[in-house]
Symmetry: C2
Subunit: 216 residues, 2 copies
């Protein structure tokens, strides 16, 4: 399939085939799509929870209750369910971890290059701390990762359901997100759609080019 085919044929799956599991080599690629996603100043301000078993999926499904119960079957029936979460702070120790990782990965020819990169990143983080929007900034980066995950899934022939419709408080409590300095961003179910997936048979709808592009 070409990129255009992939873009046009992917869709949000509404019902999963409970009996089909994503092969582990494919899962590994999907997780790498998240890990290799870009983020502002390479901040990688995220953590991903991966449930590939009934007990793990049931924990996530606690948050698809009440007004969000319509999403529960997608969580319970999918092959794998991911919770994408974002850091709520980027303290100096974390920025040091990033600098150490970049050095270990061979990005710095010398100490000067390392110091310059560390200073630049810390400066951007400071701007966001001053603006009081670190949690929003990190969520936005995590949405880039969501984009990488969804397009990668489609490329690999895996169906997906991104879900913002969940109880953030319940999910935070269940996964102890607050203690870990994290906030939930989105739940993404992954697997293969069943015959009950009405959305697989519906045409995609998008606003026309003239509504969303301006040539300048």
């Amino acid at each position: 399939m070409t990129l255009m085919d992939i873009l046009k044929h992917r869709h949000t799956t509404k019902a999963y085939d409970k009996d089909r599991k994503i092969p582990e080599p494919v899962v590994a690629q999907l997780l790498e799509a998240l890990r290799y996603s870009p983020s502002s100043v390479n901040s990688q301000p995220w953590h991903f929870f991966v449930a590939d078993n009934d007990a793990g999926k049931a924990r996530i499904a606690k948050a698809t209750s009440g007004p969000f119960a319509f999403n529960a079957p997608r969580v319970l029936d999918a092959s794998h369910v991911l919770v994408l979460s974002a850091r709520t702070s980027l303290p100096p120790e974390y920025l040091q971890t990033l600098a150490d990782q970049e050095q270990a990965d061979g990005r710095y020819a010398n100490e000067e290059a390392r110091a310059l990169a560390h200073k630049g990143r810390s400066g951007f983080v400071s701007l966001h701390e001053q603006a009081g929007d670190i949690p929003v900034w990190t969520q936005k980066q995590t949405y880039i990762a969501q984009g990488f995950l969804l397009l990668s899934a489609a490329t690999l022939g895996v169906d997906a359901t991104p879900m913002e419709g969940f109880d953030a408080g319940i999910l935070s409590t269940e996964l102890k997100l607050e203690e870990k300095g994290l906030a939930p961003a989105v739940i993404v179910a992954l697997g293969y759609h069943s015959d009950a997936d009405f959305n697989a048979r519906l045409p995609k709808s998008r606003l026309p080019e003239k509504a969303i592009f301006s040539r300048i």
Copy 2:
């Protein structure tokens, strides 16, 4: 190239070959990647400005001045420069436009299906209006589109530079974003890197799997 090759080889380009333009059929695919990006409740809460000429790029480069001057050459030298912006409100008329588009695209078998979808989307929008976070919510969706754009560019062999480092006030004034009910999200330069692009020769760095994944 496989998906893994694409993920590992793409990088943020630091210097462009001024003489290489992206072929129009490739540009068309990149814009379709934005247009076909998914968004919560198919809200498509975005608008994209496309500059493929010196005058248009110079307008965007007004915002890469002062502390952001380091980004100016990327804006001025790239083949195409996009400004991804997000809606700051989702009024009833806009939600009606989405419903009409979905009907025109054939997503509704009957009036009941249409009314149900419209009610569901309006309900989610209301929740965000009550939370006072519509502009944040729409920015997050626009970051999914950013992810689709960046991964699609890499798939098509196009280099990219996503830039949050710009003066949002200057860019808003230049593109009259506020009057249009928009706020800037990110500038993305697209083209082909030059020999001066030091980042093309550096290894990627990412945190290890154990730091960012938890199996539950």
